[in-house]
Subunit: 384 residues, 2 copies
């Protein structure tokens, strides 16, 4: 299913030889129309990889006929030559597909600071074009994996006859704005570029922008939404936005569930906030607190670390009115000791932290992971 | 030496029974005058422990005759009863010393969210008062240790006949504004409260505020500077400020050198910044990047993670003009590959990262630690 769940798309995933281990490493997703409308959001990191700089230009034209994604190398911090490599990949793809290079988006993921093996990339594009299939969505999703242990796909279908499908990769460097991820969403709904952009930004704001595995923001993130219009149905805007949000939320949850070295998925819900911005700020501060992340790993309901994280924010609250629940046990009430911490059962992978700021009625949910020796090992034992 | 290196101070450290393992856990430092001038800086965490709230009140009076410090419990997030405990400790100390409780500062460190065993604390104050000695500085420094593996002291002496001495504790929750630490500085120079305040704030701004072990800000930090005037010398203001800065820098470096689970001390120097604030912002962003901290642990000169950390800041720079050196090898030039990364030798405990923003002439140094499986273990295997 994945990116080929919607009509009007073909996809493929091949082993191009970019990864030294011979695993699949290049994916191609092609929009066969009739529409080529597209929208995308990119990393807010100011150090942007070459494919991000290239794809930002492409998206300004509002049309995307295909996207090439490679794992095995980020093509980030590679200077003007790296940008030439992204450009050359688009030209090659345009040539084999008979499209315009200005409508080919490029995405890369892997180690920063290394040039891509362009012979492998360019011959891989040819192989991928030959392998294109209306059932190629799974193979494409597999080819973009880096340290992901599983590939991630999601689909939402409307009774009105249109579909939104998607694939994602991302396992480390997951933090808001965006997380370190590549995501391609496709739909056969007939929606123009501005409509796609509105739905996509609304969806990512409360999904991908609210997962924070390790506080580290990537140079390569991209979430691309392409619409073929092949269903012939112009959807209700609200229903379409909800379908896009649903697919994004599903993929975001899968990213957290497969984060590098993680043993726990932490759902942080901030309630009672004066503003949504306050709730997000507090949620992110909790999500990034290494000491709390260690405590969760140790299944220790250490609410003091939650309070010390809240205390570093500028959100509206009074310290003596803060309440914190861990797995629904209110271990902190009015900024002090609450229910017995022995009542908290943290054995399961999902841990729920609720922070009540007692300052209003706004809320937000941020997803994070624990901090583990495996995370340290994965990110210190070799370059990634 | 420590806090009794300067004339006019006595100190002691005793095992009061606050820690279950029977280790020393209560320190007392008394200013025997003739002056009782003092200044202090406190954590900028909005969730402040009871002893911080108490001591902030004391410092408003501008005079501190003694400070009681306990390890084994932070007395943070303990509500009104916790504040009463801090107050009672000051009253008891005033009683045994014949002072006013309004001039007794209190500091605590240890687990958040638990009440202190007040019987032990109050009887400990009595024991500590009996043990006071003009040579008690080392014992006081030992009694404030928590997960510190060594006690930390520093002294600076002026040819003009005055001395600044100090002790510090802190091993985790070390992050700017302040780090998780308790620091007591003493001097026999004759300096009034405003003079102490100026020297102390200038010193902490570039020392304790620029170490960042784990990005986590404490609820209990305090740096207290007490002046007895016992030398009879009114120092040159600039020389005094430099002596205070020197002692603070020495203690700050010792804190990083003993940070929980760390195997590397990382000196991050940001140069070529448009403003000092930019340099500090960039330095802190690098200092808090978990992926980079893991890479340093693995002795991997992963400059891409440095660039991705710089890219999350609002500092003035152009991505294609950034330069990064690791242990003096410029592995990144103009935002791309520079000298051969194989030239970087990272075997030693101290690792130097230099980030050149090529945007001006300001600079700042931030000290940090690597991220290790030992850090995870220390902070997940038990409550701390």
């Amino acid at each position: 299913m994945s990116v080929t769940a919607a009509q009007g798309f073909t996809a493929s995933g091949v082993a191009a030889g970019i990864k030294e281990n011979g695993n699949p490493d290049l994916a191609l997703v092609v929009n066969t129309g009739p529409s080529l409308a597209a929208a995308a959001v990119f990393t807010s990191n100011r150090v942007k990889a070459a494919p991000v700089l290239w794809s930002e230009q492409v998206l300004k034209g509002g049309q995307v006929s295909a996207v090439v994604l490679n794992s095995g190398g980020a093509n980030a911090c590679t200077g003007p030559l790296g940008f030439q490599d992204a450009h050359a990949t688009a030209e090659k793809t345009a040539e084999v597909l008979g499209h315009s290079a200005g409508e080919i988006a490029i995405a890369s993921t892997g180690l920063i600071g290394l040039r891509l093996p362009m012979d492998a990339v360019l011959s891989g594009v040819g192989k991928a074009a030959e392998a294109l299939s209306p059932h190629g969505g799974e193979k494409a999703a597999i080819a973009i994996k880096t340290t992901d242990t599983v590939h991630k796909t999601a689909v939402a279908q409307s009774p009105a006859g249109w579909t939104v499908g998607g694939m994602a990769k991302g396992a480390g460097m997951l933090a808001p704005g965006l997380a370190t991820m590549l995501v391609v969403l496709t739909t056969d709904a007939d929606v123009d570029g501005p409509g796609l952009d509105t739905a996509l930004r609304a969806a990512t704001r409360t999904t991908f922008d609210r997962i924070d595995s390790d506080g580290c923001m990537s140079t390569n993130d991209m979430v691309l939404l392409m619409a073929s219009g092949a269903s012939g149905v112009a959807p209700d805007a609200a229903e379409f936005a909800e379908a896009v949000r649903e697919v994004c939320a599903d993929l975001a949850r899968q990213l957290i569930g497969d984060a590098e070295g993680a043993s726990k998925d932490i759902r942080i819900e901030v309630v009672g906030a004066a503003t949504e911005d306050d709730a997000v700020e507090v949620g992110r501060s909790i999500a990034r607190n290494n000491l709390l992340k260690c405590a969760v790993h140790g299944e220790d309901p250490n609410w003091g670390r939650v309070l010390s994280a809240i205390g570093t924010t500028s959100a509206a609250f009074e310290p003596d009115q803060l309440n914190v629940a861990i797995n629904d046990v209110w271990v902190c009430k009015n900024g002090s000791v609450g229910e017995d911490r022995e009542l908290v059962d943290m054995r399961y992978r999902e841990v729920r932290i609720t922070a009540d700021l007692a300052a209003g009625s706004e809320s937000a949910v941020i997803w994070a992971n624990d901090l583990t020796a495996d995370y340290v090992h994965e990110n210190s034992a070799y370059s990634s």
